[in-house]
Symmetry: C2
Subunit: 491 residues, 2 copies
């Protein structure tokens, strides 16, 4: 059936169409059925809503997600039909029963996720099956391959292409922009694409977005990289491993990130970017995502899978037992980043960035063994990294002139004072993240936390230990309730 | 913030609101956030969409689900705010890790599901956690209690109130309307509410809906029961165990139905209806939901939980190794029901209905031990059951005059012929259900199957064995592809 697109500036967070009662009946479709929209540029599967008021017979209203994906024009004619059943339900059930999936079964599931044939509910079942049953090495390889092969690839000709990835879980820890700036200043090609936060308060893409665009298509990104050696982009709309982006969106809701997904997600994205030298930062410890033992296990898994895909990899284990930097949340982290690039602290953040950039210099042969840190430090202190960072921001349509306004604090805030004197023994990273998320981070870019003291610091009763920021009074309240009910600082 | 309701006849299948860009910003809400809509009659939590074209500043468009729940009027003013985080994510994660949940944790999850604070994605995680980890007896009791206590209750004064339930999984098997008619004709009070199909091609509510209304509120239902002794209603909008209805909706998507949910769902509904004498039909065997061993286990679980809630229960194990009746799908099953009520076959369906009604007569003391079947058969053969069935249909706003049109066959159909002569050894029930679902059953009421032969029948090459019906050409095609790829009849 041919229908006319009617623009409605409608954001629904996913591909949805509204058809009139009459047209729905004509094709025998019901509310929540999946229908294929076919345009000149391609096709997408969307969920069906029905209304006779929002749309007339012969018209179709689609959410922004559909318009963007198909590059639709107002009034354009598209073809509509009921989507073929993806017939992967039996494979999902099989995995829920902890049985090993074949290559073909995994490819079918991932293809169905890619082309939007599966609802987020089905994706949730797939994720929890993996969470509980795990995956064999072969399954992880097929998951990686199928995610990579159903997506776009970056087309860079360079012999050495680097990348780094932190498995996350540590609040603050915004080393990536610093490392990218340091490495790119030394002429390493660094096509850094990041996901948004999964279980943390902010992902690199969330943080960078507070100061410039992060959402580019493949061509735009290639241009930025050719110009600056690097980028700090969001991977979500690039179509690298599109299934992974959809999986991450669902993982965020319940805040789980099963190991096979984590491995496949990272490797598929690196393969799509064409990276051949990759550094993986695995923070471990009390409140990190993994224990020391878990970190060792993960390191081995990464090495095994990288070997399979012919990627030169180095995994470093770093202590993840407390937040790194003072700010947690996009804008608050940007404060830290600019401060370090200007040669100041927070010193834990500075040290970690220098260490990791040094590792990349050694991995790529840019520095001799033992000399990487020195080169990284020089690049930072000479101001070259700051210049490179600004260059990237500008190339990504940023404007550094309104910076102080962009980095202004949120409307509402609340500070907690130390109830007794003493030294800080532990800080619960996971709960720090939770407080920042409840305050609205990362979607509210100004929401988050300022951590006044770190582990080992001595504080006096009445001194500020934590400030919570939020643009919503209600969310500040939610964050405070959570903070009051949980122990986060151990003095 | 106060906003004006703007009616848009919009069905989205769940509670959704559309706010203007300006109003969303004002309360600091983003796409897919959960917002509370408060009216004079109560409040509901809905998911947020944003559009500046579909709605103006100061207005709010809500889906039909919201309008119905709050009984809203066009132009009515409602209050809007961001929903408080339900803070049950940690309990969901706990269950995903197979840890036992406390009474308080289960109550909080169920309350959040009831009041719509959880998305279907979170419900999916909860279901799969239960599917994989199971639940302790205490957890099942709390699940039942919390589902029951967060919902409405039927207010019947009768001393004996009966009910029956089949755990399902057998295609066709539409005994319920027959049993209700037989028992009610003998003056037993039988407030039968059914869910819609979960994993089968059609639930009792789906089938009955093809011929009359099944969607009533509590007061209307009480009136119908007082008039006819019984009802054949859909439980979904009665608000009996509303959390269960939402869980079932998600279970349907992946077609799983974990045992703890099955037990809690059935018991919570019976408690809400006030039933104190309950018959459970547990079909078992090769292609049924459970094996013989599984059926015995389930019987014990039902007896244990019924005892806890002081319900007199009888569980009967029936062979579920093949479809019962000839029709599978709402309209096709109604053909069978009317035929049996008129004293004809399908004889497997007739026999099973007589047996189960007889059990209820004995359980309630209506008949002496061993005499139940006789009374059931007499009630059927005398035409009293048919009269009672018609009475119920009429009380449920049905109209028996257009019956032949309502029960007409679907537009598209395709028949399979036997490829060889022989006797039918097995029929795969589960796959029969799958074929019928792919054809569009139960939402397409005329979609489904006609099974020409049963296990034990001798057939000749070229004879019809199965006809698939569908109102959609595409869906008929989907069903045929599945049929061709799977073995369903074993000759």
């Amino acid at each position: 059936m041919k229908l006319k697109i009617k623009f409605s500036e409608w954001s629904a967070g996913r591909p949805i169409s509204i058809l009139s009662e009459a047209d729905s009946k004509k094709i025998g479709a019901h509310v929540n059925d999946r229908i294929v929209i076919q345009s000149k540029t391609g096709s997408i599967i969307s969920t069906l809503d029905i209304s006779s008021k929002l749309v007339k017979k012969g018209q179709i209203v689609v959410s922004k997600e559909v318009i963007k994906y198909l590059a639709l024009k107002n009034g354009e004619k598209v073809n509509i039909e009921i989507a073929k059943d993806p017939r992967v339900t039996e494979f999902l059930t099989k995995k829920l029963q902890c049985k090993e999936l074949s290559k073909n079964e995994i490819y079918k599931i991932i293809a169905a996720i890619s082309n939007n044939s599966l609802t987020e509910i089905e994706i949730a079942f797939f994720i929890s099956a993996i969470y509980q049953c795990g995956m064999t090495f072969n399954e992880i390889v097929y998951l990686t391959e199928s995610m990579f092969e159903t997506g776009n690839k970056l087309n860079l000709k360079n012999k050495i292409i680097v990348d780094k990835h932190s498995i996350g879980g540590v609040a603050g820890n915004r080393t990536t922009p610093l490392i990218v700036a340091i490495c790119a200043a030394q002429n390493l090609v660094f096509p850094k694409t990041s996901s948004r936060a999964i279980t943390s308060a902010s992902g690199t893409a969330d943080t960078i977005e507070a100061v410039c665009k992060v959402d580019f298509n493949k061509k735009e990104l290639e241009k930025i990289i050719r110009k600056t050696n690097a980028c700090l982009a969001w991977g979500g709309n690039l179509g690298f491993a599109p299934a992974d982006d959809k999986i991450i969106k669902v993982e965020k809701i319940i805040q789980i990130d099963p190991e096979p997904n984590l491995l496949a997600s990272i490797m598929a994205k690196k393969l799509a970017a064409g990276s051949n030298h990759v550094l993986i930062d695995i923070p471990y410890g009390d409140f990190a995502k993994v224990s020391y033992k878990g970190a060792i296990h993960l390191k081995k898994q990464f090495e095994k899978i990288a070997k399979r895909f012919k990627i030169k990899i180095r995994c470093v284990l770093t202590p993840g037992n407390q937040p790194i930097g003072n700010g947690v949340g996009p804008v608050l982290e940007l404060h830290d980043i600019f401060s370090v690039l200007q040669g100041n602290g927070p010193y834990d953040l500075r040290e970690k960035a220098i260490f990791l950039a040094g590792e990349i210099f050694e991995l790529t042969g840019k520095s001799k063994k033992g000399q990487g840190k020195k080169l990284a430090q020089e690049t930072l202190d000479s101001g070259k990294a700051l210049e490179k960072f600004k260059e990237i921001i500008l190339a990504q349509s940023g404007n550094l002139e309104n910076l102080s306004k962009k980095l202004a604090h949120a409307k509402f805030h609340y500070s907690y004072l130390a109830k007794k004197s003493g030294s800080i023994k532990k800080i619960d990273n996971k709960k720090i993240n939770m407080v920042a998320r409840l305050a609205g981070s990362p979607r509210d870019t100004k929401a988050g936390l300022f951590i006044h003291h770190h582990v080992g610091n001595k504080i006096k009763k009445g001194e500020k230990i934590l400030t919570i920021y939020s643009s919503s009074k209600r969310r500040l309240q939610d964050a405070k309730i959570f903070y009051n009910e949980h122990k986060i600082f151990f003095i």
